[in-house]
């Protein structure tokens, strides 16, 4: 009887150790690079840009996921998710800038076209 009690006690101890071993305490991760990339994307207007808004949204979602992983103690996974968030946000920045550059280029081309048209029509009316 005493042997059985000892065996049960040993079993409880092992179970407790196993449970404690499986659960993890929250970890701290450095989110600075990803959050500043997201901020930069927002500043260049990625949220209102049809191409860039998707990547900005993904970056935000990934930042949230990284928080969950960090809360569960999965540091490596959280950091990997933060890198994903950063690359998505950086892509959103570049796409937004691309749209702006396109608009500037179109405007410059239009300006030349109008100047040439005006010159042709003024020559015609001379």
């Amino acid at each position: 009887m005493k042997r059985i009690n000892l065996a049960l006690l040993a079993g409880y101890v092992l179970l407790t150790v196993a449970i404690v071993g499986c659960g993890s305490s929250p970890v701290v991760v450095n989110k600075e690079a990803s959050t500043s990339a997201i901020r930069a994307a927002e500043e260049v207007g990625a949220a209102t840009n049809s191409n860039a808004s998707l990547y900005l949204q993904l970056a935000k979602e990934e930042l949230d996921k990284a928080d969950v992983f960090a809360a569960n103690g999965e540091k490596e996974r959280a950091e990997s998710m933060l890198t994903r968030a950063q690359t998505d946000a950086e892509l959103a920045v570049v796409l937004s800038r691309g749209e702006t550059e396109k608009a500037v280029a179109l405007k410059a081309l239009e300006k030349v076209k109008i100047l040439r048209q005006d010159n042709t029509s003024s020559k015609g009316s001379e």
Binding site: R84, T87, V94, E126
Partner: protein, 272 residues
């Protein structure tokens, strides 16, 4: 024996499953495609460093796939490689658009300079042509002054041709010699083309006033017709018979009457 057979089958399946190559995750497939696309596009030329970063990331993902095909690490590395490839492509677009803007701005400046040069040239040509025309007209008037009396008056430039040079007494047909003189007058007038002119016929006081009025009108009409035949615009010439009303000399002597028998061509000051 039966158990042994099962064991053999299970072992074979396990071996085959172990040897079978795992399919790459969709993230890795996307990353490969994204890199291929960027590598074929402008990124390879315009942003090689960015593209190289994407290549390194893709290599890392491929290595991870060989070691841990199903791991989140492989998926995340592939995802990152995909985004880096897309970013390099987007960077290339920025550089290409920037080049378009720079070229367009340069074209604008060049075109503007060309237009300015064209306008300046045109202005210079016009000025030159105007000066040439003015010189020619001035020369024509100077030549005219040798053939007839030319006088600047309030009503305009007045060219006075003696009646006796143009017409026989009491006639309204031009004398043959008059045509030479009128030709010179016509040439000078044509150099000042575009101005309104008035041909005035004047007589002395011999004969009736009505007769003189008719004669002076006829003579003015004849000179007008002649100038039109020489190319002066019809709508710019008016013929007026003044008769004996505006003598410039005394009608009491022959010399004065000769001076009064005349045709005056008045050139209007303003251009039409």
């Amino acid at each position: 024996m039966k158990h042994f057979k099962y064991f053999i089958v299970v072992a074979l399946v396990a071996i085959l499953a172990g040897c079978a190559t795992s399919l790459p995750p969709s993230e890795l497939v996307n990353a490969r495609l994204a890199f291929q696309q960027a590598n074929k596009g402008q990124a390879a030329v315009l942003v090689p460093a960015e593209l190289h970063k994407a290549k390194l990331a893709l290599d890392q993902a491929e290595n991870s796939f060989l070691q841990e095909p199903e791991s989140y690490r492989t998926k995340d590395l592939s995802y990152i490689a995909d985004r880096l490839a897309k970013t390099s492509e987007a960077e290339a677009v920025i550089i290409a658009q920037d080049a378009i803007t720079t070229k367009a701005n340069k074209d604008y400046e060049t075109t503007q300079a060309e237009i300015l040069k064209d306008k300046t040239d045109l202005l210079a040509d016009e000025q030159k042509a105007r000066m040439e025309a003015e010189t020619k007209a001035a020369k024509a008037l100077a030549d005219l002054a040798k053939l007839a009396a030319v006088k600047e008056e309030e009503r305009g430039l007045v060219i006075t041709l003696s009646g006796s040079v143009l017409f026989a007494s009491n006639k309204s047909q031009l004398l043959p010699a008059a045509q030479d003189r009128l030709n010179s007058v016509a040439d000078a007038l044509l150099e000042n083309n575009g101005r309104k002119i008035t041909i005035e016929g004047h007589t002395d006081s011999q004969g009736s006033t009505a007769y003189n009025q008719t004669l002076s009108q006829k003579r003015a009409d004849v000179v007008r017709s002649y100038l039109i035949s020489r190319g002066y615009p019809e709508n710019l010439i008016i013929a007026k018979g003044i008769g004996e009303d505006r003598p410039i000399a005394n009608n009491d002597n022959a010399e004065g009457r000769a001076n009064n028998r005349r045709v005056e061509i008045v050139i209007d000051r303003s251009n039409n």
